[in-house]
């Protein structure tokens, strides 16, 4: 078939892609932008944290105030996350499995904390429990401390992390529908059995992702906690607040050392998210802004 050789395939681009030069320019622009705003700050955290060597890093995260901050942060997350998990599952069940009036409005209300500045989230609890409020004098008379104490920090954290689990589960459960639950019920399973053995296995990866995000935000929340905490070292300082204090004292290395722990947590969260997406692409709700 030598006589049939055609002139080498004409250089005509595919109809649905850009010229190679445009493509390269776009990739470079995207990389440059992401480097300036995402990658470099992340690298900076770890570089600054280890500037004075691993020993200094270890010392910074193991001094008593830092340890107290870590402990408090873990405690707050340990209370706030389970609360929001229970809420998220309950809300997603009610919204995804039933038709009722005002559903869209309820979803909007659940999203509300995402739209509210974290500082406002702190402010509302100051207004609610502060000395000038209705509750304030009564709380004081009974010796209950909410503001500038752990309960206030927990409440503010619950507020800002409120929608994470629900937001992850609602679209996922809506997409999955109710037919499997109906089948289980028709086979004689009780409501609880249906939930534990049919629904939960179907939503577990979405639930895990929601928990991860909720936890990352709970441990990292700054604005809301800052307003209600009172910044008492060793008592009401969470890790982000501790970072702020150290930074404002120009103790940058120690500040970044504590920050590197939270950055590590963030990377771990993203890693798990990516792994879940890679392995169980069907198990997550369509990714959406938070």
């Amino acid at each position: 078939m030598a006589d049939l050789t055609v002139p080498s395939a004409p250089v005509i681009r595919s109809a649905t892609t850009e010229a190679p030069a445009t493509r390269i320019a776009l990739v470079v622009a995207a990389f440059g932008f992401l480097s300036l705003f995402l990658f470099l700050p992340l690298v900076e955290v770890f570089l600054e944290a280890l500037r004075n060597g691993p020993a200094a890093w270890l010392a910074a995260i193991s001094e008593p105030d830092a340890l107290a901050a870590i402990r408090l942060t873990l405690l707050v997350a340990a209370i706030a996350v389970p609360l929001n998990v229970v809420f998220g599952v309950a809300a997603a069940w009610a919204i995804a499995k039933f038709e009722f009036r005002g559903k869209a409005f309820l979803i909007t209300l659940i999203d509300l904390p995402f739209s509210v500045s974290p500082v406002i989230a702190g402010l509302v609890y100051v207004i609610l429990f502060g000395s000038g409020s209705l509750l304030g004098p009564w709380l004081k008379a009974n010796g209950i401390e909410v503001l500038f104490a752990v309960p206030g920090i927990v409440l503010a954290t619950v507020f800002v992390t409120f929608p994470f689990v629900a937001r992850e589960l609602i679209p996922l459960m809506q997409e999955q529908g109710s037919s499997e639950e109906e089948a289980a019920l028709s086979l004689g399973a009780s409501g609880w059995q249906t939930f534990w053995r049919v629904t939960l296995p179907n939503i577990r990866w979405g639930l895990l992702y929601g928990v991860l995000l909720c936890n990352a935000r709970a441990m990292g929340e700054f604005g809301a906690v800052s307003v209600v905490s009172g910044h008492i070292r060793g008592l009401t300082n969470t890790m982000p607040l501790h970072i702020e204090i150290l930074y404002n004292e120009y103790n940058f290395a120690a500040s970044f050392a504590v920050a590197s722990l939270l950055a590590g947590l963030a990377l771990f969260t993203l890693l798990l998210k990516t792994l879940i997406e890679l392995r169980f692409s069907g198990g997550l709700a369509p990714s959406r802004g938070h």
Binding site: P41, F87, A91, I120, I127, T194
Partner: protein, 286 residues
């Protein structure tokens, strides 16, 4: 035959009532929502109503308050605009091109969602400070970034980026290649296809991403205060002013500023919902 199920006529009909637990889950969800979110928020609204119109207006029209709101809104607007441009480019590159490390880049776009704002704040401040990696070369060119409104924009770009990317990306993924091919067979150049077919289709998602980034930017606190310099009237953001008023035990002023910020947030939220409803009605997708 004893059966506990519905009559055969209703068997094939989707009847939500056969699934139990509505009362429990709905009741719990609404109660919890009310206790954690609605009652505290209405406390803010009631408290600002208690101030009275004249007092509220006096506090709200305080020049420093106005300046802080203007700084917050202005920087958030600029940052959201920057994010629209680069967010769309990033989303396009991630959706359309295959290159080594794409997965990694895709995962890292979520970093601002996962990284605590205070951590981002100190990292950006030290990076863009006059002696930082980026700040130093910029200062040599006569550009001061940290401790100016430009620094605030930088922080808000960081915070807002995933909102635009993650809103636009799924819509981009759903673009039907056939639509682009149709435009090409009709004689449209690649640029014309982009400008007249693809971008208009993405417009609702882009606008939604913009509004989300803007809403987040107006309320952002942690990542901004370290890099902003916090000079009253110049680089002092509204959330910081709330904190300052609270530290002065001036709850009334804090409440007034908070109420205004809440109003802006609700207006944006309303706008976002409106946009999505419109886009669903017009194009049949959200």
């Amino acid at each position: 035959m004893a059966t506990t199920h519905a009559a055969p006529a209703g068997w094939w009909f989707r009847r939500p009532s056969i699934i139990p637990g509505f009362g429990l889950t709905f009741g719990f969800a609404v109660t919890y929502l009310a206790l954690i979110v609605l009652i505290p928020l209405s406390g803010l609204v009631i408290r600002s109503a208690d101030l009275g119109l004249a007092e509220f207006w006096r506090l709200a029209s305080d020049p420093r308050t106005i300046a802080a709101l203007r700084v917050s809104f202005g920087t958030a607007f600029v940052a959201a605009a920057i994010n629209v441009v680069f967010g769309v480019v990033v989303a396009w590159v991630l959706v359309r091109y295959r290159f080594p490390g794409r997965r990694l880049v895709d995962a890292l776009v979520d970093l601002p969602f996962a990284l605590p704002t205070a951590v981002a704040g100190i990292a950006l401040a030290s990076l863009y400070a006059p002696n930082g990696w980026i700040g130093a070369p910029a200062a040599a060119l006569g550009l001061k970034i940290a401790f100016t409104p430009l620094g605030i924009v930088i922080a808000l770009v960081f915070v807002g980026l995933p909102f635009v990317v993650r809103t636009v990306q799924p819509v981009m993924e759903e673009i039907d290649r056939e639509v682009e091919e149709a435009a090409a067979t009709l004689g449209a150049s690649r640029l014309a296809t982009l400008a007249r077919v693809l971008l208009p289709g993405l417009a609702p998602a882009i606008l939604t991403g913009f509004a989300l980034a803007l809403a987040r930017g107006v309320g952002e606190y942690g990542s901004v205060i370290f890099i902003a310099g916090n000079i009253p009237y110049v680089s002092e953001i509204a959330p910081l002013l709330v904190v300052i008023r609270l530290e002065e035990f001036n709850t009334a002023a804090a409440t007034a500023i908070g109420a205004m910020m809440l109003a802006i947030a609700f207006a944006l939220l309303f706008l976002i919902n409106l946009l999505q409803a419109w886009s669903r009605r017009r194009y049949g997708h959200g």
